[in-house]
């Protein structure tokens, strides 16, 4: 199909929102306000891991303008996991903690007051007595036997299999990693001319949308709740808030007008859950505007991911087999991490044809703010590791970087790591275009290849 067959598809029409943007007319959530609206500030954990011994609200409650302090006891259904709708379990995260905190900055309780300053002042006066426990921060340490276990099931790792990962059948065996295997990887290594190993790390990265998290929740006289929030997924918020409030989802309306940047930061509904609970308890509209500091220290990040790759290579430069171990730092709670690990693990071949492989993806819990989706989720990390490894392998074999990729690029009618037939391969063509654009003269034997 050529472009000319279409009237408007394929044309660079002006973005329909842009005139409002350049005139300051776009309405973001921050400009939404209601008479009698209250504001929220959180009392946050000063330590990455600890037992809550006692919370003293007495000084905070005496501040004029403080309306309510919201704690775990106000949440009808406190423990949740936001991918429960996909079948992920068990619920591991409280809307507000009951007896323990698992990351620095975790909200212990919410102060609702007449304005932002009063809420902040009162939050500073809440006295929390916490018994600090040694935090788990390093993924390798977290996996060792005898490491302090931060999850209630007695370890620091998500169990895949058994149907609790949103992917495998309920009857399948459980194991501490998601497994992808194909062919005979040991044979491939036995036949290798060269073996190349590498370990690559992506650290936690902040989405940093210019608009921080902000939400207004307004109980309606009809008994319904309207939530104004710049979410990427209104129905995902609606269903998750309904779960923790234990009310029908149809009683909740979620409105997400223009979002001031997201990149994955505004997928997880945990923030909206907290605002919704506060609104339901006080029966008045409430607003919460995160500071930039909260955005950095509390909001999700891209997960830290460490990927170990080991390739068996032939003398001609073919990847005969690959072993991979991926450690994904979920932070304190599951959020979308079990999903992210599966997405990473199935993509560990990159755009290359590898017939013998064994990939293990671990979802590891640590005492830092939960990580979750960020632009390129699951594959950003894999593309990084695989492309560094391709460079390392090409140099070890003394083969040109372009040639090594052309030799191994997947083609149509081959299959992916998960056995899916490939029918839309186009890497070879794209590499030829990129080389031409960069003024790289590829040799004729590469130019004649196609997918």
């Amino acid at each position: 199909m050529s472009m000319s067959n279409y009237f408007v598809v394929g044309k660079s029409l002006q973005n329909s929102s842009i005139v409002n943007h350049v005139t300051g007319a776009t309405q973001y959530i921050d400009s939404i306000t209601f008479p009698g609206m209250l504001w929220i500030k959180a009392v946050r954990s000063p330590v990455p891991r600890g037992k809550i011994k006692k919370i003293d609200y007495s000084k905070a409650e005496k501040i004029p303008g403080v309306v309510k302090i919201i704690t775990a006891k106000h949440v009808p259904n406190n423990y949740h996991v936001n991918l429960a709708g996909l079948g992920v379990g068990p619920p591991d995260e409280p809307v507000l903690p009951e007896d323990e905190v698992n990351y620095k900055g975790e909200a212990i309780c919410l102060v609702v007051a007449k304005d932002e300053e009063t809420a902040a002042k009162a939050a500073n006066l809440v006295e929390v007595d916490i018994e600090e426990l040694p935090p788990v921060l390093d993924m390798e340490e977290a996996l060792k036997p005898g490491a302090p276990a931060i999850k209630k099931w007695g370890s620091n790792v998500f169990m895949f299999g058994g149907g609790m990962d949103g992917a495998t059948p309920p009857s399948s065996p459980k194991r501490p990693y998601f497994l992808v295997k194909r062919g005979n990887v040991e044979q491939a290594f036995a036949n290798a001319y060269e073996v190349v190993e590498g370990s690559y790390l992506i650290p936690p990265i902040e989405h940093a949308p210019l608009e921080p998290h902000i939400c207004v929740a307004k109980p309606e006289p009809s008994g319904k709740l309207t939530i104004y929030t710049p979410t990427q997924a209104p129905y995902f918020v609606r269903d998750n808030v309904a779960t923790i409030l234990n009310i029908p989802a149809s009683n909740i309306r979620v409105v997400s007008p223009h979002v001031g940047g997201a990149f994955g930061a505004k997928v997880d509904p945990e923030f909206e859950m907290q605002v919704a609970v506060a609104a339901m308890v006080v029966g008045r509209p409430v607003k919460w505007r995160w500071t930039r500091e909260e955005e950095f220290t509390i909001s999700t990040t891209r997960p830290a991911v460490k990927i170990e790759l080991k390739d068996a290579l032939s003398r001609e430069g073919r990847i005969l087999g690959r072993k991979a171990k991926l450690l994904h730092d979920a932070g304190a709670y599951a959020r979308t991490s079990p999903y992210g690990v599966i997405k990473s693990t199935v993509n560990l071949s990159g755009p290359y044809n590898i017939e013998n492989l064994r990939y293990e993806g671990y979802c590891v819990f640590t005492n830092r703010q939960p990580s979750s989706a960020m632009r390129g989720y699951g594959v950003f990390e894999v593309s990084y590791a695989v492309e560094l490894h391709m460079e390392r392998a090409a140099r070890k074999l003394g083969i040109d970087s372009w040639e090594f990729r052309f030799i191994n690029a997947y083609r149509n009618n081959q299959v992916t790591a998960t056995g899916r037939p490939i029918d839309d391969a186009y890497l070879i063509e794209v590499m030829k275009e990129a080389a031409a654009l960069a003024g790289v003269k590829l040799p004729p034997h590469l130019l004649q290849l196609s997918s």
């Binding site: 660079s12 194909r182 609606r238 930039r292 755009p351 372009w402 899916r420 275009e433």
Partner: protein, 332 residues
């Protein structure tokens, strides 16, 4: 002390839609009395331009001019269910749903116009906002007028419904065998860098990048995603992390003063090209674009630094401190 130059490449693919599928999208298109259309979706406008893309798709099929199509979004009270705007899924998933809904509208338009023009629906074609009797130059009627008359002359509600899902794939627990994605998009990026061996500072001089997107419904919006993605990925490569001493918590960043984002003066010349290899699963062949464009630049930059200094740094971001350590190790 010297300034060393290097060139690095990275080749990638990226899946469209949620892994394993099972992520449905629904849309309802409703006519206004004057023949304009309102597309009701729970997709969200994040700046990527989904409103514009969905209007283009609806216009292409219904024949209603794109400026007469309003996309209302992000409200669970007016829009049917959608899984969400993430996983490079909205153009593909919601785009497919909009095609189906638009086809229902198109059928009503053709049947109604057939009555108005006293012709068979099969003899009609839609172009330039009008319904024409094929081969007859003076027999046509405006699509909007047809939609209006369908409602008020022929007593027909003009509503289009669309649904799309890639059915959720099963997973073999012993091998991971599954059908996780709808289609793969592709990219290849070449980065040219200069490394200052005295300071360890890496400057990205020029970026050449090609992305295969299936079909660019709106090339300017795709190019905007590419440039924005390259710059975001450049930040990840060179400066960005919340925990500079990961895994320990010390020096956790708390503001834009210690978490350094690229600014206008940091941007190299970016030469971008879009290529198209339409997928049968996508609307007009389109694949997901928004995420892929951030994935290829970081490895290209790190490979370019490897080329320049002869040492491969493996941990992001490649700060001057890491570059200097690597240089020391290599004795250069």
């Amino acid at each position: 002390m010297a300034k060393l130059r290097g060139r690095g490449i990275a080749a990638i693919n990226y899946p469209t839609g949620m892994n394993l599928g099972g992520d449905p999208s629904q849309v309802v298109i409703v006519a206004q009395p004057d023949g304009r259309l309102v597309v009701n979706v729970a997709s969200v406008e994040l700046g990527q331009g989904i409103k514009t893309v969905l209007a283009q798709i609806a216009s292409e099929i219904t024949g209603v001019p794109v400026e007469d199509i309003e996309v209302r979004f992000g409200d669970t009270e007016s829009a049917p269910h959608d899984t969400g705007t993430f996983a490079s899924r909205s153009t593909h998933r919601m785009g497919n749903a909009v095609i189906k809904a638009s086809e229902e509208i198109r059928e009503i338009v053709l049947n109604t116009a057939a009555k108005m023009l006293e012709a068979s629906p099969n003899d009609l074609e839609i172009r330039e906002g009008r319904v024409w009797v094929k081969g007859v130059t003076d027999k046509s009627v405006e699509v909007k007028q047809v939609i209006s008359q369908a409602q008020f002359t022929y007593n027909t509600p003009v509503v289009g419904k669309g649904f799309y899902v890639k059915p959720k794939s099963s997973v073999d627990p012993e091998t991971g065998a599954s059908d996780p994605h709808s289609t793969m998009a592709h990219g290849c990026t070449v980065a040219e860098v200069e490394v200052d061996t005295e300071t360890g500072f890496v400057t990205v001089l020029k970026v050449y990048t090609v992305y295969e997107v299936g079909k660019a419904i709106n090339p300017q919006l795709v190019e905007s995603q590419i440039i924005g993605g390259i710059v975001m990925g450049m930040g990840a490569a060179l400066t960005e992390t919340v925990y500079p001493r990961y895994p320990v918590l010390d020096f956790q960043t708390t503001s834009f003063r210690d978490y350094v984002l690229p600014t206008a003066g940091d941007i190299p010349e970016i030469v971008a090209k879009i290529v198209e290899s339409p997928t049968p699963t996508g609307p007009f062949g389109a694949k997901g674009v928004g995420e892929m464009v951030v994935n290829s630049i970081a490895p290209a930059i790190v490979n370019a630094v490897y080329d320049a200094i002869g040492v491969q740094i493996t941990d992001l971001p490649i700060t001057p401190e890491k570059v200097l350590k690597a240089l020391k190790k290599s004795g250069r």
